[in-house]
């Protein structure tokens, strides 16, 4: 397959940059699932400005996770993080990050496994529900556990990352076995 995706070292280097830049700039650990959860709890969050300029946390005072918010960010900062992801994703799409055209569908491998009909919507919805429920129950996703937690050598994150990678690998082999 021909694509012009970035090489591993560039992508890996920039992902690490994000993982360290986010807590340095925002004062809370990186985590997209937590940010989405906070978006959903929008109306319950602390007013804007309370966490305006994140000061360096002092020793003994845990930052972020133990506050009333999911990510420790105020809701504007949280929303801007998600908007940033959307802008970055759109730029990537413009710049060769979506080689499969603009059909609105997922990549050919997905279509080979699950087809093209209406049931695909249900598969994605159900799978998405597992992603949403699972990441919140586990307390993190690919970014929160995988990058940030593993990067800080946090045992729960190392275990969780091993589990979701292991299960995803097993399920992928099962999909190939039974659906292709």
């Amino acid at each position: 397959m021909i694509n012009n995706y970035w090489p591993w070292w560039l992508g890996g280097g920039l992902l690490a940059t994000v993982a360290i830049a986010f807590p340095l700039l925002a004062g809370a650990p990186l985590g997209v699932s937590g940010a989405l959860a906070q978006l959903l709890r929008w109306w319950k969050e602390i007013p804007d400005g309370k966490n305006e300029s994140p000061s360096r946390p002092t020793a003994g005072v845990p930052s972020g996770c133990t506050s009333t918010t999911a990510t420790g960010l105020n809701r504007t900062a949280n929303l801007l993080f998600l908007v940033g992801i959307l802008i970055g994703g759109a730029l990537a799409g413009r710049w060769g990050g979506q080689p499969w055209g603009t059909s609105g569908k997922l990549s050919p491998e997905f279509q080979r496994l699950f087809g093209n009909g209406i049931p695909v919507v249900l598969v994605l919805f159900g799978g998405g529900a597992l992603v949403g429920f699972g990441t919140r129950w586990s307390g993190g996703c690919t970014s929160g556990h995988g990058l940030s937690g593993c990067g800080r050598l946090q045992p729960p994150s190392l275990i969780a990352t091993g589990v979701f990678f292991g299960v995803a690998i097993a399920v992928s082999f099962l999909l190939e076995e039974f659906l292709s």
Binding site: W6, W8, G11, G12, G13, L15, A16, I20, A21, F22, V32, S33, L36, A37, L40, P57, T58, A59, P62, C65, T66, A70, A77, V83, G84, I85, L86, G88, G93, G97, Q98, W100, G104, K105, L106, S107, E109, V120, F125, G127, V131, G132, F133, G134, R136, W137, S138, G139, G140, S143, G144, L147, G149, G151, A160, V163, G166, V167, A168, V171
Partner: protein, 135 residues
């Protein structure tokens, strides 16, 4: 919020979206091939990212004092459910957003599912034993 303060989360988000997109992590083909060990590029990228992050967190350890990640009842089963959903949809929460912004409208179904999943978890939070405000 001052404009510069806005950049504190907007810029890392933008770089995350751009990198994940340009790396091909939001492309089901690439992810599926990674999970089948048919292509090592994304695995290598992820391992590099984690390795470098470990080094960077060590360098900046005095500047950062983040709360430790707590282990709880949901850490393992939650990760397992996520693994199933990830392999099927090709999307982790960030990837669902990136796919949408790339014009993959079908990912709206994934994203809707993710929000429903998050809401279900919030509904049964106490019974599931997730610590309040965990991330």
């Amino acid at each position: 919020m001052k404009p510069l303060a806005a950049l504190r989360t907007l810029l890392p988000g933008l770089l995350l979206g751009l990198t994940v997109g340009r790396l091909g992590f939001a492309d089901y083909n690439e992810l599926h091939r990674m999970l089948l060990f048919r292509d090592g590029r994304l695995l290598l990228a992820f391992a590099t990212a984690v390795g470098l992050t470990i080094v960077l967190f060590h360098i900046f350890r005095r500047k950062l004092n983040l709360a430790p990640v707590a282990f709880h009842k949901g850490t393992i089963p939650g990760a397992a459910l996520f693994g199933v959903g990830w392999a099927v949809t090709g999307a982790c929460p960030g990837v669902a957003l990136i796919q949408l912004s790339q014009g993959i409208w079908l990912s709206l179904a994934t994203l809707t599912g993710i929000f429903v999943g998050i809401a279900l978890h919030a509904r049964f939070n106490k019974k599931l034993g997730t610590p309040a405000g965990s991330c």
